[in-house]
């Protein structure tokens, strides 16, 4: 039978309909309860701050990932910790799911509500509650982004660790997730710099962690007593909503100087040795390794300019930034480091900063001085027109070197084509020494044209191939979502146990913790308590 014209048009436009009904005969999010919940939310938060208008809901249905659209049934915007408590109490009363939403800059579908429910947009909570330059910490709410906090810290002579995301990303959500630093990994990632948190648990109770919560001073040293602050890292809102976080600040540098060692040959092992030496030497304030392609992305303000910069740059680049109380001090540190590198790595060339300035002077939005101050917001996340998938690994530096070419091959063969002028294999490979040691972080990101279905399949295949390649070499997937994909694939748990022996035990422990803290399974519901498995594919 010939298809109707309307059907043909709908198929051509890939209509997916409004994906609001996620489950057949659901226990949670029942229609009759949603109306009551909305009325209660409006009472608790104010008429303006809870809605089920579809024009508002659709704004939360997608992000930069290729995760299929998922509409919440209700969106609310609490303005305080008490409001968040009220949201959880209402959700428990009516058995509605809650999806926390920090600033919503996600690349992995992490705030897309899988089963609908209430999306809790936290951007009204946007205050820096306390910032202490002497003791170097800041207490912030979820709506604060890196730009706001960085500038506030700089006024006190401090700085926030530069994230490998944009300046408009939320600090709390990034720190609680991982917050991979692009440069200053010697201080750990964002998640290593959480001093304490205030959380609303799924029951609506408030949990405050850290020594200050039981009367001690707010300090960087946890304890005495168990430190619960770290238990909620990588929990993606499954265990509650962080409403306040105290994070570490670091001393800012009055003066800076940069060294840009470059190496033309495609030998990552040499760069790994140099990185290790620089990290151990510990003179550099910021340190990053960038392949030419990633350098383009790092500094170019759009794909075309990123490609231009990539073509001009040597294959391997190190960016080391030195700080000092005086310019002489910063210059001296840079000079000493360059001498050390010249002695041990005679094959390196050194790019003067002026060359970088010349190279980028046509780029309207690149002002290197302000770029150094606030970091480049156009890095990766913002640059990508379509979707991209992040693969992230943490392992020993030498293992990274061993696997890096395999990973690039895995990405290239499968991903094949996209509209990006940068070749996919070169899209984003960089190494970071972590905590001054030989632990390193490496990414393999794949970019795609979001509106091309075939491209989505290629990216998925490529990502899985690269990921399984990494796991087969015993690498740890840095995103740490393993615990949340329990029961997703048939035999998946057994496979995971074979590759990463402790993961199954870890997943069980996590499940029990979740069941204790969230008896109704409403906070970012990922799997069912009765079967302890997922019903739907959810990334992370």
């Amino acid at each position: 039978m010939a298809k109707s014209k309307m059907r043909q048009e709908i198929e051509a436009r890939r209509v997916v309909n409004r994906p609001l009904v996620m489950e057949k005969d659901p226990v949670h999010n029942r229609q009759e309860n949603l109306a009551k919940a909305l009325a209660d939310l409006k009472d608790a938060l104010g008429e303006e701050w809870a809605t089920d208008d579809v024009s508002i809901l659709c704004g939360y249905a997608r992000d930069q990932s290729f995760t299929p659209a998922g509409y919440p049934h209700i969106v609310c915007m609490p303005g305080s910790t008490e409001d968040v408590q009220a949201v959880y109490r209402i959700a428990n009363e009516h058995l509605i799911d809650i999806m926390p939403f920090g600033t919503g800059l996600t690349t992995a579908g992490m705030t897309i509500p899988v089963y609908g429910g209430i999306l809790c947009d936290l951007r009204r909570m946007d205050r820096i509650l306390e910032i202490d330059g002497e003791n170097m910490y800041a207490v912030i709410e979820p709506g604060i982004n890196y730009l706001e906090l960085q500038a506030a810290a700089q006024r006190l002579g401090c700085r926030v660790l530069n994230p490998s995301t944009s300046a408009t990303a939320g600090v709390i959500s990034n720190h609680a997730f991982c917050n991979i630093n692009l440069m200053a990994s010697k201080y750990g990632f964002g998640m290593d710099n959480i001093i304490d948190v205030e959380m609303v648990l799924p029951t609506g109770d408030i949990l405050k962690t850290g020594p200050a919560s039981y009367g001690a001073v707010k300090g960087h040293v946890p304890g005495p007593g168990p430190d619960l602050s770290t238990m909620f890292r990588y929990a993606f809102g499954t265990l509650g909503i962080v409403t306040r976080m105290t994070i570490r600040l670091y001393p800012g540098a009055k003066y800076t100087q940069e060294v840009f060692p470059v190496y033309e040959k495609d030998r990552l092992s040499v760069m790994a040795d140099a990185l290790y030496m620089l990290a151990q030497d510990n003179l550099a304030l910021e340190l990053a390794h960038l392949m030419n392609s990633f350098f383009g992305i790092f500094i170019g303000d759009n794909n075309r300019e990123a490609s231009k910069v990539s073509e001009l740059m040597p294959r391997h680049n190190i960016m080391a930034v030195f700080g000092g109380e005086t310019q002489e001090e910063a210059d001296l540190k840079a000079h000493v480091t360059q001498k050390m590198l010249e002695e041990h790595f005679p094959m390196f060339d050194y790019m003067p900063k002026e060359a970088l300035v010349d190279m980028t002077e046509e780029n309207e939005f690149i002002n290197l001085d302000k770029w150094s101050k606030f970091f480049n917001v156009t890095v990766r996340v913002m640059r990508v027109r379509g979707s991209f998938m992040i693969g992230a690994l943490i392992d020993k530096l030498e293992n990274m070197v061993g696997i890096e070419k395999l990973m690039r091959e895995a990405c290239t063969n499968q991903v094949g084509t996209n509209d990006d002028p940068l070749a996919p294999d070169d899209a984003s490979t960089y190494l970071q020494p972590y905590h001054m040691g030989r632990s390193a972080y490496m990414e393999y990101d794949m970019y795609t044209n979001q509106s091309d279905k075939d491209d989505l399949i290629r990216i998925l295949m490529g990502w899985f191939r690269a990921t399984f390649t990494a796991m087969s070499k015993g690498m740890i997937i840095a995103a740490g979502g393993g615990a949340l994909i329990k029961g997703l694939l048939p035999m998946g748990d057994l496979m995971m146990a074979a590759i990463q022996p402790n993961m199954a035990t870890f997943m069980d422990a996590f499940t029990h913790m979740k069941m204790t803290l969230d008896p109704n399974n409403i906070s970012n519901r990922r799997w069912e308590y009765d079967t302890q498995t997922m019903k739907k594919f959810i990334l992370f």
Partner: protein, 401 residues
């Protein structure tokens, strides 16, 4: 009046790739981090900053366009509010396009046109404005006889009767509000002193149609545009000066598709006259002022330097910059025809800009747009600030001997 088409119609679906690839990176919500010195002023989207939900930012409206295109959702009342609280200031596009080559502003403009075409636009909110144009050819309901009163005693040529090199296109605002009359008189006087041969269309000038185009009523806009174009042709002018950036924008972007005219903003002409030495500001104007870049003049057409060149020539004037200046300029609240139906929200945006002026230590705001001047003055009259407001022509005129 017979309706004709002056411009080729662009439909929303032609921008499908733009709204399909937005990843909600939030770039459109503020100024570029590299260009911002104080985080207090990083937000630059009036509707998103005020109403907070994602839909009120450009990224949310791109998502609405995508969902409508995918037939995922249908227009509802809230969609009208979301769409028509945008001030069309273009800050989102200015941030997004250089990085991702997406046109959020164009998508929003076309979404409004779609809303009007598909009959779900909340046109009842603009009933008075549309009715005024139908009755008086002016969105504020000021009759033509009243609108030309400002010309009295200035001996300005009527371009339809006397040949002149330039046509001064007054626009919707200057002749409609008593507070703006001295400002347009200053425009005319500066041009005269500079030896510019100009005239106006007098009573025959009708609304530029800018307000109609803002709300997405392209058909009606074109009706007004064609009426003016017919008079341009009758007058035989091919150079048009206007001091109204909203008129400037439609003259330059839309009218020029139908007729061969050169369009200049007063700031461009005045900067040229000063550069050529044809006018010399000599009297001191002692104040510390910040220049507010009107969205339609600065961000839309890149006219940033000319107004500043004019101001630099004025002795005694100490110029400072807003935190958000030039491309980062915050809308005064006068964009997108929002003030016709949401005056309180428009006033909130004006207040934000006034607070920023106070923050940088300005005693006065100078701008080159009658809507900006009017909104600032109205907010100040309501006690929002003590800052003085100047039109560019007004302060230049004050300094001329």
């Amino acid at each position: 009046m017979q309706r004709r088409i002056t411009a080729p119609r662009e439909v929303l679906a032609e921008l499908r790739e733009d709204y399909s690839v937005c990843g909600k990176c939030k770039l459109c919500q503020g100024v570029m981090a590299q260009q911002c010195d104080d985080p207090r002023f990083w937000r630059n989207c009036p509707s998103g900053t005020r109403f907070r939900y994602e839909a009120y930012y450009a990224s949310g409206k791109l998502e609405i366009a995508r969902c409508l295109d995918l037939v995922e959702i249908e227009p509802d009342e809230r969609m009208g509010h979301v769409l028509y609280t945008c001030m069309l200031c273009g800050s989102c596009q200015d941030r997004c396009y250089p990085v991702k080559e997406i046109h959020p502003l164009r998508v929003i403009e076309l979404l409004r046109e779609k809303a009007v075409t598909d009959e779900w636009a909340p046109l009842d909110l603009f009933e008075e404005m549309i009715g005024n144009i139908e009755k008086y050819d002016n969105p504020y309901g000021v009759p033509a006889d009243k609108r030309v009163e400002w010309e009295q005693g200035l001996g300005i040529k009527n371009a339809l009767k006397e040949k002149c090199e330039y046509l001064l296109f007054v626009g919707d605002d200057y002749g409609s509000f008593p507070s703006l009359v001295p400002r347009i008189r200053a425009v005319a006087d500066v041009l005269k002193k500079g030896g510019v041969d100009f005239g106006t269309l007098g009573r025959e000038e009708v609304s530029s149609g800018s307000a109609l185009l803002h709300i997405g009523d392209r058909d009606y806009f074109e009706t007004m545009a064609l009426s003016n174009i017919a008079n341009f042709e009758k007058a035989g002018v091919d150079k048009v000066i206007t001091a109204d950036p909203h008129a400037y924008a439609v003259l330059k972007e839309e009218y020029t598709i139908e007729t061969d005219i050169e369009v200049y903003h007063f700031a461009e002409v005045a900067a040229g006259l000063i550069g050529d030495g044809r006018i010399k500001p000599g009297k001191k104007v002692k104040t510390k002022a910040a220049y507010h870049d009107p969205c339609r003049l600065g961000r839309r057409f890149g006219v940033f330097e000319e107004p500043r060149q004019v101001l630099e020539a004025i002795p005694g004037l100490e110029m400072i910059e807003f935190e958000r200046s030039r491309k980062n300029s915050l809308c005064c609240g006068g964009g997108g025809s929002v003030f016709f139906w949401e005056p309180e929200y428009a006033r909130w945006a004006t207040g934000e800009r006034l607070r920023e002026a106070e923050h940088v230590g300005a005693e006065a705001i100078i701008t080159a747009c009658p809507i900006c001047v009017r909104l600032f003055e109205d907010a100040i009259a309501d006690g929002a600030s003590n800052i003085k407001v100047y039109d560019l022509a007004e302060i230049l005129h004050e300094s001329m001997p």
